[in-house]
Symmetry: D3
């Protein structure tokens, strides 16, 4: 009987864990607080949500964006997220926030895209050189040096970066137009993908020697997100 | 001939000014920088935009969110916006930002809704008591006291407020899921509308004496936005 | 063994009841008939739906909008809904209907918003004074007296009301651009919320004496929806 | 000089008339009242709109839905619309209304689709047999007899009809989930198109004799909208 | 104990089969691979999806669109689909593909609509006469003869067809702006619905003799999709 | 007077040319045929459209996708587009097509993203190694070798490529879920942007020697679109 109870308990657990991760582009009720712990194999577009009657203020709350991120890493920056993974109440609501810390003298949030969001950034501390590049065939760089209080916009899907050109730490808050904006760090996705891309492809695309491509593919690519 | 040239120039100007104010929910090109000075009577849903070839980094930029707003007013708060009115590059991109300053001992961002946006707020300074109320028939209040680094979410369309319960200034940044979120300050819209609502309606709806209603309707209602 | 069977049956029931309440902004199949009886804690944005093969004409049907609503209440009006709660076939389809009855001499559908819908109303009987107020900073009142056959539009998110200024019953049908439009009766949400809003907030926001605020907060607020 | 002034005036007029007809799926401001008189060749998706400062309550208003439509025609029905063509304030708001009158003993709103809207109908008078057919490969008919106060839903894009099976006039109000839902009366589009479809196509598709097809194509097809 | 294990296994299976069929209009994560085998009664708008960690390249792949469809049927055409039913990775991504084969001398893809998609078609082989009809009240036919390499667009919801007017097989690829576009073959839905439409309705709507209607309703209507 | 007439004619022309380039995510009428020749500075999100009464079948038509693209270039591939720039009738309809030609032995459609579209590709001739990389932090490569008749999906915003690993030409048709999907060729945007990105940024991001970065930035980057 123990075994049976164990099995049944397992089923109940499986059930409980199954209903993880479900939401939507525009809310169809006041809110739809995400259930975040996915242990089983069923999902929906977005996230499943909990009984609205059981929602509390805690579901819409996250502390800690006053704490500087650790920038002692390869790129000298750290992104602290406040999206649907951290705040389940954001589910279906189409917005999120990050705090970004940059080390002095070259802390870099390296070129990346958000496949599902525009970003609007406000500098709180330091001096940032920022930019985005438009799509083909122009590939124009829009760039600007930002100081505290300055706001800049990175349109959805465009490759963009921020670079600390000052001698002090820099800090920014940035909002994104999705509860789950996604990040594609270009170098990481291209040279550090899990299963390497055929080096012939990258050598031809980036006009690089095959050996350099292979060397790049063997390196460690830090993800600051 | 002077008169003719003047007329023609006027037509050209009229043309130039006509094409003001046009945008859209999801972008259909990299960006669509708004033309903001509407002098003539033609509009579109959102805003007209300028030739993308003429767009510059300045179109995506706004300085000044480091400057405290003046909170010496009726409600003791001030909202400094960074939306499509201030940053034309935000047009069609579905996001915006505000800085909110609150006077010590009771600075209030009074109960209001954003008809077109969810809000996510991060406290930078001070202590805020915040809350939102759900729709009928529950009308539950979700409330929380926030300190620096705390983040809170106000779902789209819900009535919400922030109240400085500390003895110092408070400052927050808040992002909104629309480039033109709109604000409806409840008291202002109900008691301070341009053309007063029939006092019988408000007396019955708010269970107030007609005289109180009329008194309220004769007051000045400060808009902190 | 009985216990085991019981547990297993319970699991099956839990499963069956779990899948309640799921839908979406734009349909991805011909229809997605909602399953309405939520007994367990898992939801999606919108509603879960039943096997389309089991859908019947009854799922798209509701009788009874010929029956007058009971207007013997605090505000003298009653809203009879035909949305996704009553018609499961409306799930994902983005529209719903209500019948509104107004008592003679002042029956009031009090100032409210629909956070997720525009409303279009047609008067079938009686004389209604209706209006909506635009967002800040203008807060303009758009108002009109309506007679049978007259149609009026209340844009999404705007505060609006209907007031029977005639000496007979009034009846209207109104359609809303959502299968679950939501209603926020302003006075109820502000003064009748579950957990009262801090009276300091309301006194300051509404320029009312604290005692009046507390008195209002202690009253009963009828929800005519 | 007269000629010049005339030309310039003409340009100004052309300008004024050009900006007709522009709107959008979800509103980006409180409203965007359509300008309806298109005399020139420039349009946008939806409709152009007028200066919001010039909008009035009249823009959101339409009288006359109490007046029975004339059903003395081929199909014995008449649809009286209240969409963005009649109510410019509906522009961008995603909803509209119609009144439908049906002659006794067989007044028919013939099989049609709305390419951009779901329909929800409430019967005010009479007895209607209504139905819709699902898409391939099932093509199931969902059908129901409706009496006053009965509500029925026709999902977006599905072929549907209403048929007066009673001995009195029938009247219904129906709401549609678009400010410009469109109507495709099946028989009219197939057999009455402007430029006839190749009769070989229709003979094969409808399993009809070529002569019958040609006969049908030569008939008059009444549009009750 | 066997019985218990069987029951528990059944529960696990029920669970596994329950989560079939869920997706969405715009993706909220990189992808959401559909689970296609629905054996139980719970669905969502679109499809449920599997654990993204378990997704593989096979989920985004379909072979076989080089194989000609069998056109030996009533209409002389065959549509081979590549939508979310065949490629689970298409779930939430809003696009799909078909290969269409047409028999020589009159192979016909008969008049139909896609309730949820625009179609763009490219001819690979043969000569097609194609067309679509606009909505009321114009019902204009837009028609064109297409040769290999020619592209044509059929706007969402419009009735359209392709007809092989050449003496060889014809082949086309067509893309649709939905992962589940749906097809309504007009003749099949009108005359071949499951539960026949009242012949009085069709006789009046199509100006056909009742006997012809009944004869049509008794026929077999081939679905080439 | 000649000069005046000339000026006025110029104004009329300016007017005519002004209304270029306007559309929208979901159509609000049957179609909205784009006006493509932008000579003046006013735009909307999407494209302006012409009077629907003047639309013809030609507006929905494009010949020439049977003609192989010239692959004698740096990357050995060529994309021939059929989007709203070539087919004005695609405006607002959310779909487009391309033909892609690949030279034998290594013709490459280099790593790129479509910021506004998912892509579904069918191989017509040859052997392609294709792949896409997911977003952080996994950056998984989904890859597959494709033969004629094989279909593969590249989800919106993901970096992807196709590589001809065969000894013959390869040809594919691909559909995209936008009338204006956009292309960002990664190497071109990063190393070939107009105004070079600060080499410090790229050296750090790509773990490359500054000299290599500068060398890359001085090269010519072919755009195969």
């Amino acid at each position: 009987m123990k075994g049976v109870q164990f099995l049944v308990a397992f089923v109940l657990l499986a059930l409980a864990s199954k209903f993880v991760s479900a939401s939507d582009p525009s809310p169809l009720q006041d809110f739809c607080v995400a259930i975040n712990d996915t242990k089983d194999g069923v999902f929906v577009n977005g996230k499943f949500c909990k009984d609205p009657k059981l929602a509390t203020a805690e579901d819409f709350f996250l502390p800690g964006l006053n704490i500087p991120g650790n920038t002692s890493n390869q790129v000298g920056s750290m992104v602290t997220p406040a999206n649907v993974q951290q705040i389940p109440g954001l589910n279906t609501l189409g917005i999120s926030l990050v705090r970004i810390d940059y080390a002095p003298y070259g802390g870099l949030n390296p070129p990346h895209t958000h496949p599902r969001a525009t970003e609007i950034l406000v500098v709180v501390e330091g001096t940032l050189s920022v930019g985005f590049v438009t799509s083909n065939t122009d590939n124009r760089l829009f760039t600007k040096v930002l100081y505290p209080g300055d706001v800049f916009v990175f349109p959805e899907g465009m490759i963009h970066f921020q670079f600390n050109i000052g001698s002090t730490n820099a800090v920014a808050f940035a909002a994104l137009s999705s509860q789950n904006p996604g990040v594609i760090t270009i170098a990481n996705a291209v040279f550090g993908s899990d299963l390497a891309i055929n080096p012939d492809v990258l050598a031809k695309a980036f006009q690089l020697d095959q050996n350099i491509v292979k060397q790049l593919q063997s390196r460690f690519w830090w993800d600051n997100n």
